[in-house]
Amino acid sequence: MTTQTTLPVDTETLTALSKSKQEPAWLTESRTKALELAGQLELPKVEKTRIDRWNLQNYGSYKQSGLIKSVDELPESVRNLIQANENSNLIVQRNSSVVFTKLSEDLKGKGVIFTDLETAVREHGDLVKAHLFTAVKADENKVTALHVALWNGGVFLYVPKNVEVDVPLQAVFFNDDASATFAPHVLLIADSNSRVTYVDNYLSNGTNGELVHNGIVEVFVKSGAKVQYATVHAMSEQTTELTYRRAVLDNDANIEWIVGEMNNGNTMSDTHSLLKGNGSNSDTKVIAVGSGSQKLNYTTRANHFGKSSESQMITRAVMREEASAIINGITKIEKGATKANGEQTEKVLMLSPKARGDANPILLIDEDDVKAGHAASVGQVNVEQIYYLMSRGISREEAERLVIYGFLAPVVSEIPLELLQNQLQTLVEGKLGQ
């Protein structure tokens, strides 16, 4: 039985759109096949969350936005997120398409490719085709299938062998028209022994209705390469977000995920590292604040295949008002991944009697010679701590603020980019109603 058979688009329209964008035949086919799959597949099974009850109809239709010449033309909410200067590297997607792209001469000279994914399909077809939808596949479930059918705009970042990029590259995805399909795809390839930091922001404001943001991120970290991937989500209350982020790590490859879940609507996110290579390493940090009547489901995963591969996953979530969060950590160590080590911690702090939090740490281990550990806790603000702070003259409000920020601090303080730390700080304050 299929729960939802109405698809947001039909095959003819999808084909016509693909052709009008001069997409290669393989891509048109990938889209139409995925649409067919979307009609057959079920929604993903998400732990303790009935996403079938979420508002998942509002994919809208493809709407091309006009290119802009300068970031000055962007709304203030977007400009606040970026540092635009000569050396900055920035891609901005508005609604269904990318409107601004900038890559410094320096990085161009080093062979770095940083462009919207639609352009990359045309200009770097082989490279894109070899990777696109190989980490997250169309046939996983209805959501991934719909993404493969509908994706638009997006980012393609390629860092050549041995190139070390020492400035962060940034993308901003924003929606201000709920009737426009918003399904950016990020494809990042860090070739052997390269290094890169990439940061992106998702936001919607002034949207005129309900919107689904169905996003996928695929990261390929080749041998010895190191990727720092930071992503901050601040979509409006009317946006339902479904995101899959997945990294594939070769030998001695390294990824650091930094995720700020600051959406205002229902959100399902799944951040996953596939540690295929020996000696590969994944470090995932998630901070989240839920408010209103948000339903949230955050999953972090590490799959160990490589010997001596290591993973750390930390999620810290603060839930206020009637928000509820299900937080899953899944560390899986496959047979043969000897000397692997996987650690995870999930903590939820609840600020009101109606807030809900549930932490589910799971270790699945098929190899004897490994280390793994988990810790999870769900609790309220500690009254003794508030009393202690207040006994020094600090007001209750300020005491609570200190405790909440203290709870998030172990993650926030590890964030390597100051701009991002400040952004998160501001978003956290906003979400906490301060």
Binding site: N382, Q385, G393, R396, E398, F407
Partner: protein
């Protein structure tokens, strides 16, 4: 105005159990009072009740600081009015650095827009930490997290020194301190003695009182002050223990709230 702290007929309960059974005490600026007594006699309950710990409910009595009704005030208001309690078991708060905490506490006493400058704050904090022979690194550690018992006690004294309260209650500040640390803490207390400031030192040993001379000594049993005297009382308790007090007053079990 010189400080005057008055406790009259104070009774309080925890989880419905009456622990304080009517406490009367007056502390003036410049005075040092010591409350001594075996474990389980209600000393910490008195301290917590005065500070306004949410678990304790006042059922009778009155407490005033310079004629202001303390029991009407929220915990933070009591602190800003001049009350300070160095706790027997200070909380650990992960993620909040000691220095951020101290600065918030200082600024809570100042008008908005008139916050202490960072430089001035750091200078003050560092000089007091030096007096207490604290490693400067403790400023950047999370509040009390992973501090040893003695480090927590010093950190309590550091807060007292920076906040300059009118009434200082020290609850077992001497427990867990070796003799060197005890002297440092005592020096810190003595440095803060002033005509404007009163002290209530809770302890069950005479040890600390060798270094901080009390003007008045009170013995607490069964949730009451059962005996008061001068410094000589503390010396006798140290030499002879509490049994003679119990005998004199016909007390068999000195504890409170521990019915079988």
């Amino acid at each position: 105005m010189s400080t005057k702290f008055v406790i009259e007929g104070l009774k309080s309960t925890i989880e419905g159990k009456e622990i304080l059974k009517g406490i009367n005490l007056e502390i003036k600026g410049g005075e040092i009072h010591a409350i001594m007594g075996p474990n389980g006699t209600g000393k910490s309950t008195l301290a917590s009740t005065l500070m306004g710990h949410p678990k304790y409910e006042v059922t009778a009595g009155k407490v005033t600081l310079n004629d202001e009704d303390v029991l009407e005030m929220a915990v933070d208001e009591r602190a800003r009015a001049g009350l300070f309690l160095a706790m027997q078991y200070p909380s650990e708060i992960a993620g909040v650095t000691n220095s951020d905490f101290l600065r918030s506490a200082i600024n809570a006493r100042r008008e908005e827009g008139n916050e202490i400058s960072l430089i001035k704050f750091i200078r003050q904090m560092e000089s007091k930490m030096k007096e207490l022979e604290m490693n400067p690194e403790f400023a950047h550690r999370y509040l009390n997290e992973g501090f040893s018992g003695g480090e927590k006690k010093r950190n309590e004294i550091l807060q007292m020194m920076l906040l300059e309260p009118k009434i200082v209650i020290l609850d077992e500040i001497d427990s867990g301190l070796d003799i060197d640390a005890l002297k440092i803490v005592a020096n810190g207390v003595n440095a803060m003695r002033s005509e404007e400031r009163g002290f209530l030192i809770i302890t069950h040993y005479q040890r600390l009182l060798n270094y901080v001379k009390p003007d008045f000594v009170h013995v607490m049993m069964q949730g009451r002050i059962v005996k008061s005297g001068g410094p000589e009382l503390a010396e006798r308790l140290e030499a002879e223990g509490y049994d003679w007090v119990k005998e004199e007053l016909g007390i068999v079990d000195e504890t409170v709230g521990q019915e079988a």
